[in-house]
Symmetry: C2
């Protein structure tokens, strides 16, 4: 059976030492998240994830969700009870506004809890995750009545939420969607159409399910400019707030899919279902973007989370599994063979996963802190800077963390040899579950295009210039510090590659957008690598400070070695990405479609 | 439903034009494989794979193999009839010696047929593939009686074969194996022990199963030097050659695994089963190596094969799926959206898979030809050169082709967006099936160690020097050819990186073997990239010649574009691998095992 131990020490290091979130005590909710409160929350979150959610991970994979003839769906054994614990612990409302029953704590904190839950049980965590995303959209774009009707119940976890975008003929290109909305005399709409791939579309965990649905109002313009957002509850809500009559939305079937079997991925049929407009007519994408940006961060965390739990198991296995002898001579003479962790190739594999995980976690905390600043700061300049950062980093986080996270799960599985291919060991489930994160909430190719085509040029490149400025200043400040050399020198080289790539795009992609498209995925990876390199350099700096102040610990020493590994072994890939980007799009665009 | 079309034109190009196998008419069997015979065989092989095997691929995945209470195993519906067709077509004996009923045709030819069958149905093709491997071991190390008793039936496909190495406590390190062999008065042995992960260990496709089993004879030395190889038939063979009494070997259970569900992966229990020694006592690894080298080439082909079929489906989907508009302006104004193949990132993905497939196929043909030369040439120098090549390239083929093949299947799946995650589409099966090829027949980390630790230094580096000499000479000869510049220049750079890496290993790994271990996987990838680069340059040269002679065709023009893509976009990764190799092992070896 797989193991999982929430990385509480690592989270504390990031919150307390690297990002020092106590500095933000002036922001709403931050003073409620003092060090001891954080400690208590993280320790309880760890316990819940390790003891309740993780043991259900394989159960969920084996049993999956079952749709009954009446359209109802049963989740795997134990999910209902576990969800009850999540609800009773108030975990879904951790960062929700206090006026709706939430605890108003920083996203910076709740995102780390999300990581624990995703590591322990990704399929399970999605029921709550989607609810938080739907709540965010309602909070930003819903009217007062809608907020009052839905948000408190969703924050409490009594009701869950979904997002309904995809249809058979439309995924990325939402302008193609056909689901219809017909306005009624009372101001409501009748929604009719079919949505596919709806995560948590139907289940038995909550007394109501609040669907947010993209549809086209009769007579609306074609394309994306005619798309509106609606709230469609499974049960219409009575005047007293209790669930009333069944609405015309049903689960038509559950998809058979590669992984996340514990989450019900539904085909949802809307048959004159009653819905209400959220925000303005034909401005549905605005609300959906709130939800998607929220969700994209969550999906990035899934990539990290699967990489983390896969690493923990692979490392434990490598310490235990006896096979062969060390190249440099016998290490365990009292045993029939050495543990495979003596082998450089095994260590290389483990370190490359770990070096990613720790820096990716830092990147998530950093960006979550910016999210808090963007939403809570009273200073417009701070809000704008934070929002710039958030916009720029969201596609990088989603694309780079999920792709690397998946690749890491595959490498962790590899440490098990043949045993990694066997279901009972659990490693292959991490791979299958992690795979979806590269696809949903905007496939990674779309993230790369969003980065290159939208986020980079936005506001004259203000966000990317701020990032270059920050990293460049860090490198300059620490250039004279001998201990920082193994970090600063490679970071500067990598930053140079990213800047060259950016210049190349400015010079070559304006007139010829195919050059941007051809460069996009490599640019996203290059950006991700430089960001993780910066995270490592920042962390190393903090570690040096702590060691100078209070002496070395195992945790701190390991951190430095892991960081050096990243700079030596992972970061050099920036060279290759730059070369690819600079090769342009001519060859790629040369063939006719039929030639493929 | 997934499609598959055997790449017959591409195989013909390689056999006829690039490697011109008609030049080898003096080798036994080659003159029987004249161009028209090859054409007929490839066309029949294509038909069998496309029409019989491919339609059973998903059936096999869904149904899997079922073990009954009596230990018998039923394969998925249709497998039995399909196997009968394979047997009746003589496909298992294509390259087997004529004196045992085979057709004695070149491996160069039969290996291309293997690719078709693996693309169509990897799990199914393993039943035959393992039989061919077991037959090879019997042919090399079996005595006359053993050969006469087993080989003709195995060549005919009446009986199938297995290889039994792994035990719960021993995978890579076969010296740890515990299965016991006790010599009997009649010269036979009683074999007792448990073997795991035995592919095709029990099934209903053949009237007998011939197990080749590694075991330790009572009183044998400890470790790998006390391991012997035995032949243990499921049914003892009567004097007339018919299957007789049931032997004491049974299938204890079937593993639940990530993929290749159509192949029965068995726990095999040996309970005083009667077996006969193959070759000498305590020299079991020699026979096993024959089988494993055969199998490693076959597994390399599986990597290519899954990449090929995944590519074909992804390309077809990209041509059909309408979503969004081209960055450079609308391409299909009559349709609601453009097909996604207009997007540079989609083309980049497809081309990177295709550029690998075509060069990997060339590498397989090249190496198979060397295998034929090693076995059939009358010139000892030719045999030695060919054997050098085979030894050097086997770990590269196995490790590099399976790892890239898997990554390509993942990328092909990505082209489908959410649909790629859904089982019915078949893309996720390619990923799950391809995954095992990185693991079995020596996990890829072991291949890398074999390359760096054994194959590279062997005979004073004779094999690698010959390879460098050949590639270097090609680059020199074509340096003045303007049309070849896009191929020769990047090839020379990449070869330079490989030579630098090799020099670094010579200087740093002798005294400190951990430097070799830390470099191994990157060195294997670097080697694979350079080899594929060489294949592309060779193919480009041939294409230029053909175009000059008879004018361009779509096939030839596409080949050149695909090749240029490889040189521009794939080959530059050699820089990163070199940097990683040169970073050494110090950081990797620094942490204590407990720190991981």
């Amino acid at each position: 059976m797989p193991i999982y131990k929430a990385p509480v020490e690592d989270v504390n290091f990031l919150l307390n030492d690297v990002f020092q979130i106590d500095r933000y005590d002036n922001l709403p909710g931050f003073s409620d998240a003092s060090a001891d409160v954080r400690e208590a929350i993280l320790s309880e979150a760890a316990k819940l994830s390790e003891e309740v959610l993780q043991p259900l991970n394989r159960v969920g994979d084996l049993e999956g969700c079952v749709r009954h003839d009446d359209g109802s769906v049963t989740t795997p054994k134990g999910f209902k009870e576990a969800f009850k614990q999540v609800v009773e612990g108030g975990w879904l409302g951790l960062s929700a506004p206090t006026e709706y029953g939430g605890q108003g704590l920083p996203i910076t904190l709740s995102q780390t809890v999300t990581e624990f839950q995703c590591s322990a049980n990704m399929a399970f965590s999605m029921y709550g995750g989607l609810t938080v995303g739907a709540t965010a959209a309602l909070l930003v774009h819903g009217n007062a009545e809608q907020k009052a009707m839905y948000v408190p119940k969703m924050v409490a976890g009594e009701w869950t939420g979904t997002m309904n975008l995809t249809e058979p003929q439309c995924g990325t290109d939402l302008g193609l969607l056909r689901t219809k909305a017909v306005k009624q005399a009372d101001g409501s709409y009748k929604i009719t159409g079919t949505k596919i791939f709806i995560s948590a579309g139907e289940h038995d965990l909550a007394s109501n399910i609040i669907h947010l649905v993209l549809a086209r109002i009769e007579g609306a313009p074609a394309g994306i400019k005619g798309v509106s957002l609606f709230v469609v509850p499974k049960f219409l809500v009575n005047a007293d707030g209790s669930p009333g009559a069944r609405n015309g939305v049903t689960c038509g079937s559950i998809e058979h899919k590669m992984g996340i079997h514990g989450n019900s991925t539904c085909v949802m049929n809307y048959d004159s279902a009653t819905g209400w407009l959220i925000g303005e007519e034909n401005k549905g994408m605005q609300g959906m973007f709130v939800m998607m940006n929220e969700a994209r961060l969550g999906v990035a965390v899934q990539g990290l989370a699967q990489s983390e739990v896969a690493y923990q198991n692979a490392a434990a296995y490598a310490r235990d599994r006896l096979q062969g002898r060390a190249l440099s001579g016998v290490k365990a003479p009292d045993k029939p063979a050495d543990p495979i962790i003596v082998h450089p190739d095994v260590r290389r594999t483990l370190l490359s996963i770990r070096a990613f995980n720790e820096a990716a976690r830092a990147m998530v905390v950093w960006t979550s802190l910016k999210s808090d600043l963007a939403h809570r700061s009273s200073d417009p300049k701070d809000r704008q800077d934070a929002d710039d950062h958030l916009g720029l980093m969201t596609p990088v986080l989603k694309g780079f963390l999920t792709e690397t996270g998946f690749a890491n799960a595959v490498q962790a599985q590899q440490m098990y040899g043949g045993h990694g291919y066997i279901a009972e060991q659990g490693m292959e489930q991490f791979v299958r579950d992690a795979r979806i994160a590269m696809i949903y909430e905007g496939a990674n190719g779309i993230q790369a295009l969003d980065l290159v085509g939208r986020k980079l040029p936005r506001d004259g490149g203000r966000a990317v210039m701020a990032f270059f400025g920050e990293v460049g200043a860090f490198a300059k400040e620490n250039a004279g510090d001998e201990a920082m050399k193994p970090f600063v020198a490679p970071l500067s080289t990598a930053l140079g590659h990213l800047q060259q790539a950016t210049t190349w795009l400015m010079q070559n992609a304006m007139a010829k957008p195919d050059n941007a498209g051809a460069a996009a995925t490599d640019y996203m990876h290059l950006f991700g690598l430089v960001t993780l390199g910066y995270m490592w350099a920042k962390m190393a700096k903090v570690v040096h400070g702590k060691i100078a102040a209070t002496g070395p610990t195992d945790y701190l020493s390991t951190k430095l070695v892991t960081g050096r590994f990243f700079m030596e072994r992972v970061l050099p890939a920036t060279t290759t990405h730059l070369a690819r980007i600079q090769s342009g799009s001519a060859t790629i665009m040369e063939l006719a479609a039929e030639a493929f």
